[in-house]
């Protein structure tokens, strides 16, 4: 799929066979239907969350690497854009810990209020 052994065609810009776009397009449709099915068939708990995340990351990966041609961009750009994004994970962890603390404080001091 996205791992085709072609390199970026320099010259004017990114040029890739139209068939590749069609394949990714169909895959995105299938993945979206599957993530919708997760809700439609009422999956719950960890199974639901895992499936949502798997389909989400697969879709995001396909859009970024093929539609946005990220897979064929120079490694300097990959590094410059990829590294800062990692900090988001740190931020998520911080805010999750903070939210947990707020939640427990509310339970303790506001007698289950909002």
């Amino acid at each position: 799929m996205s791992g085709q052994p072609e390199t970026a065609s320099h010259g004017e810009g990114q040029q890739h066979p139209i068939g590749l776009y069609f394949k990714v397009w169909i895959l995105l449709f299938v993945l979206s239907s599957m993530s919708y099915a997760v809700d439609y068939f009422h999956f719950h708990g960890y199974l639901r969350w895992t499936l949502i995340l798997v389909f989400m990351f697969l879709k995001a990966g396909l859009i970024i690497s093929v539609f946005m041609h990220f897979a064929w961009e120079p490694s300097t750009l990959k590094l410059a854009l990829g590294l800062p994004v990692i900090t988001i994970i740190v931020f998520i962890a911080f805010m999750a810990i903070e939210a947990d603390y707020t939640f427990l404080s509310r339970l303790t001091f506001m007698s289950g209020g909002t």
Binding site: E12, W25, D39, F67, P74, S75, L79, T102, F103, T114
Partner: protein
């Protein structure tokens, strides 16, 4: 000059990376327009991340139960409530528009101006219909269900503010994208890029695919979670 021995691919990857960064020349072998769009999209990534993280924070810390999105966004079709139907349609519309955009980029590099124009306008129309459906969704939520940024009848008060902020900001991006696409499409047709080259279509496409990309995350975290 001594010939360099064949290095394995892994070390040559890192070596070339270091060379690219440390050599006394351009680091990014890209046109500035494309590079600037990527940098802009990186900053936009942070904006949407902050919104989604803020939503995570208020949802985790809310002591009231969070409204069931599957029911809130259900559509009543043919005597039955179909969960998230409108959202699913909106998702498919956005993916379709991403596909037409990718085709437009392809046609632009083949210098097929008529096809590029048609595909870009098709993308813009799909984007506009997405915004239209979002307007419908908002009015349904505000008028029929009584959702406000500060309160709602279904549960945790934070639901409204998170919903309006995240989908509103995304809708604004789609609206701007529709205008951007239309402007570039008209310029393509008028021959504005005949000499400059058609990379502008790829750059516009980057923005449009990013809008689709953000929706993937909103769909997963806000509507499905």
């Amino acid at each position: 000059m001594a010939s360099t021995p064949a290095v394995n691919t892994k070390s040559s990857y890192w070596q070339s990376l270091v060379t690219d960064w440390s050599a006394d020349r351009e680091v990014f072998k890209l046109s500035w327009g494309k590079l600037m769009m990527w940098i802009f999209l990186l900053s936009d990534t942070f904006i949407f991340s902050v919104f989604l993280i803020g939503y995570m924070n208020v949802r985790m810390s809310a002591t009231d139960s969070w409204p069931l999105t599957s029911e809130v966004f259900a559509l009543h079709v043919g005597g039955a409530d179909i969960p998230l139907l409108l959202i699913a349609i909106m998702t498919f519309i956005l993916i379709t528009s991403s596909g037409t955009m990718a085709m437009a980029v392809n046609c632009a590099y083949q210098r097929n101006k008529a096809a590029t124009f048609k595909l870009m306008i098709a993308t813009a129309i799909l984007g506009a219909s997405f915004v239209g459906m979002q307007a419908f969704e908002w009015s349904k939520l505000i008028l029929d269900e009584g959702v406000r940024p500060w309160a709602n009848p279904m549960g945790a008060a934070q639901f409204g503010s998170a919903f309006f902020m995240i989908t509103g900001f995304h809708g604004m991006h789609v609206s701007i994208g529709v205008i951007y696409l239309t402007v570039v499409a008209i310029k393509v047709l008028r021959g504005h890029y005949d000499e400059k080259g058609f990379q502008i279509v790829e750059i516009t496409g980057l923005y449009w695919h990013f809008v689709d990309l953000v929706w993937v995350f909103i769909f997963a975290f806000f509507y499905l979670w």
